[in-house]
């Protein structure tokens, strides 16, 4: 992929990007207002505001270094914003108790290699305060690892470890789920399976925020947020974004919005 170097013709996009239509009565699952995060002189997240509705899959798309992970860390309360506020399920973040309602799959697998599959899942379940084994078994079944519970994690393949990592974020059946590049480094077949899992969870009411720098995953999301240099430069369904950019190619659309916002190159 190449962002910002292979632009062809600039599409005409001038209107302020509207939020998608949704039930105005529904309380947002996630609300960000004026979020800023700086590292030295770099504004990793630069004045980001949005409301995300429950039970939908949001794709956070943008190149490496565009601020996706930092934004997710702000939303989960793992980092403190320099300015702005975050609310998840109506609770201001950071909030330790609220973390039991949030699932977070980090970019690295973040599982203990010396523990078995079952031990890893049960450990995180216990950390989330889950009692009983039903949710752990559900999570492991969802990622097709229920019959590998006794296997030591270091003996798993990379894809299996990624699946375990997902299961560990699901052991407490969180209504809000953040997935930081969940499909990086996994094969196309497993990727299809993962998106199947995400859809299943969303249909059950889970709000999912997935970050990715792979544009061909975008159409699996209900809505997209394009990020560039710490800002959300476009938001809408895949169709809306294509229409607005006047191109059928999401990569081209991204480049169009990037240049529109003066941060394309």
């Amino acid at each position: 992929m190449n962002y910002g170097h292979s632009r062809k013709e600039p599409p005409v996009v001038s209107e302020v990007l509207p939020d998608i239509e949704r039930d105005p009565g529904a309380r947002p699952a996630i609300r960000a207002a004026g979020l800023v995060k700086t590292f030295g002189t770099i504004r990793a997240v630069d004045d980001v505001s949005f409301d995300l509705a429950p039970g939908r899959i949001y794709g956070l798309l943008g190149p490496n270094g565009s601020g996706k992970t930092t934004l997710i860390r702000l939303l989960t309360g793992m980092a403190r914003p320099a300015a702005g506020t975050v609310e998840v399920l109506g609770v201001a973040m950071p909030s330790r108790p609220n973390l039991s309602r949030i699932g977070y799959m980090t970019q690295s697998d973040g599982v203990y290699p010396a523990l078995t599959v079952g031990e890893n899942a049960r450990f995180f379940a216990a950390a989330y305060g889950v009692t009983g084994d039903a949710a752990v078994l559900d999570a492991l079944t969802l990622v097709d690892l229920a019959d590998r519970q006794g296997d030591v994690t270091s003996t798993l393949s990379g894809g299996q470890r990624r699946r375990l990592s997902l299961a560990c974020a699901l052991t407490h059946r969180p209504p809000v789920l953040f997935l930081d590049e969940p499909t990086v480094g996994i094969d196309p077949l497993l990727r299809v399976q993962f998106w199947g899992h995400f859809r299943t969870l969303a249909e059950a009411g889970t709000t999912i925020v997935v970050s990715s720098h792979v544009m061909d995953e975008a159409d699996r999301c209900d809505e997209l947020l394009f990020m560039r240099s710490g800002r959300v430069i476009a938001r809408g369904t895949g169709r809306q974004i294509r229409d607005r950019a006047g191109t059928d190619d999401l990569e081209q659309a991204f480049l169009a919005f990037a240049s529109e916002n003066g941060v394309g190159r």
């Binding site: 793992m78 330790r96 973390l99 039991s100 690295s108 599982v111 203990y112 950390a127």
Partner: protein
């Protein structure tokens, strides 16, 4: 051997190491620091200041020898206090007023008379030096004054019994030190993995608190420290006889070091020390990015404790400017506590042992607190 490939590997090693500034600093600075410290301790180690409690024994010749001995000792800058009898001299030693007691017998000058030299018994190495100085002057004075064959000088200790076992003074200290060292390394590396492996980030995304993490780690590693120390104590204190089987002769397993006190109390001392080592490992893992860097802290935090806690070099003989540092070394309290138990047979009712345990507990709590402060939600 292909020169090009060889050169590539050589260059890779050099460029990689060159960018690890801390490794380079330690490679050159650590040995200089360590050899400097050791040389300083050995070369500048003070002749220990000695106070002698002198008992003249009541005989006229004893009065004469006692007076001459006093002036000879004082000529060597040794303080002399008078004690009425042996039990008064022992009391002066146990309450810290005197280092060495010299008890002249009533029958001084007659054949078979024995002079008793008493030391505390808690710091056999340091006391050996002090006793050596006093004994030299004593023998010279007595020989000149008595004009008779040298009286026997017998060594007694206020605590325990003087032992010929050369390992006896070291064994308690080494048990404590090893536990501290291994627990630090294990915790440091384990927690570093937690930080670099992404599991800490993930754990902090759960409702788990920092206090729960530090306490949980402490419980886990203290269990293993406890097992290690228990095994080490059985090995050091025990003598298990294995009977002759077939052509094999009978032999004994275990070091068979004598202990005056209850091993369970000694175990408690080491366990408290180990709890502090867990917190230290967690705390220092903040400042390391690789496992190598955890190991690199050894010259900075472990070696000084080894040198300044009275394990090899008695505290009384350390250079004066290093003396205040001793109180900052957690290991020094454990070494003192362990010697109290092993040599003096102290139990939990002993005030100085209680003090050691209290200080170790405070150190463990302090490092536990700062360790938990290094675990932030914001780990990246």
């Amino acid at each position: 051997m292909n020169a090009r490939r060889l050169r590539a590997i050589f260059r890779r090693v050099v460029s990689e190491f060159r960018r690890d500034h801390r490794s380079i600093a330690l490679l050159f600075a650590a040995p200089i620091l360590m050899t400097g410290l050791i040389t300083f301790i050995v070369r500048e180690g003070q002749a220990p200041s000695v106070t002698v409690a002198l008992v003249h024994g009541g005989s006229p010749i004893g009065q004469v020898v006692s007076d001459r001995l006093r002036s000879a000792l004082e000529a060597e800058d040794i303080t002399v206090i008078a004690a009425v009898d042996e039990s008064a001299a022992r009391a002066a030693i146990t309450n810290g007023q005197a280092d060495v007691g010299v008890v002249l017998p009533v029958d001084l000058g007659r054949p078979g008379a024995t002079i008793t030299a008493i030391t505390n018994g808690m710091d056999p190495i340091g006391e050996g030096t002090q006793l050596g100085i006093v004994r030299g002057i004593l023998v010279a004075t007595a020989t000149a004054a008595l004009d008779a064959p040298l009286p026997t000088v017998e060594h007694a200790t206020a605590y325990g019994v003087p032992t010929d076992d050369p390992i006896a003074p070291y064994a308690p200290a080494i048990v404590g030190f090893l536990a501290y060292f291994f627990v630090y390394i294990l915790t440091g590396i384990s927690f570093l993995r937690e930080r670099t492996g992404g599991t800490l980030e993930r754990l902090m995304a759960t409702p788990v608190t920092r206090g729960e993490i530090v306490t949980g780690y402490t419980l886990g590693f203290t269990l293993f420290a406890g097992l290690q120390v228990a095994l080490l104590m059985i090995w050091s204190l025990g003598t298990i006889r294995v009977p002759a089987i077939g052509p094999l002769p009978e032999f004994a397993i275990g070091l068979g070091v004598a202990t005056a006190g209850n091993p369970a109390v000694a175990f408690l001392v080491v366990l408290l020390l180990a709890v502090g080592a867990v917190s230290l490992g967690i705390f220092l893992s903040t400042f390391a990015r690789t496992e190598l860097q955890i190991v690199q802290f050894i010259p900075l935090v472990i070696v000084p404790q080894f040198l300044l806690s009275g394990i090899l070099f008695p505290i009384s003989g350390l250079p004066e400017i290093l003396q205040p540092l001793v109180g900052l070394m957690p290991v020094s309290y454990a070494v003192d506590g362990l010697r109290q138990v092993f040599i003096a047979g102290a139990d939990l009712s002993s005030g100085s042992l209680q003090l050691d345990l209290l200080v170790l507990a405070v150190i463990a709590a302090f490092f536990g607190l700062i360790a938990s402060l290094t675990i932030r939600r914001e780990v990246a």
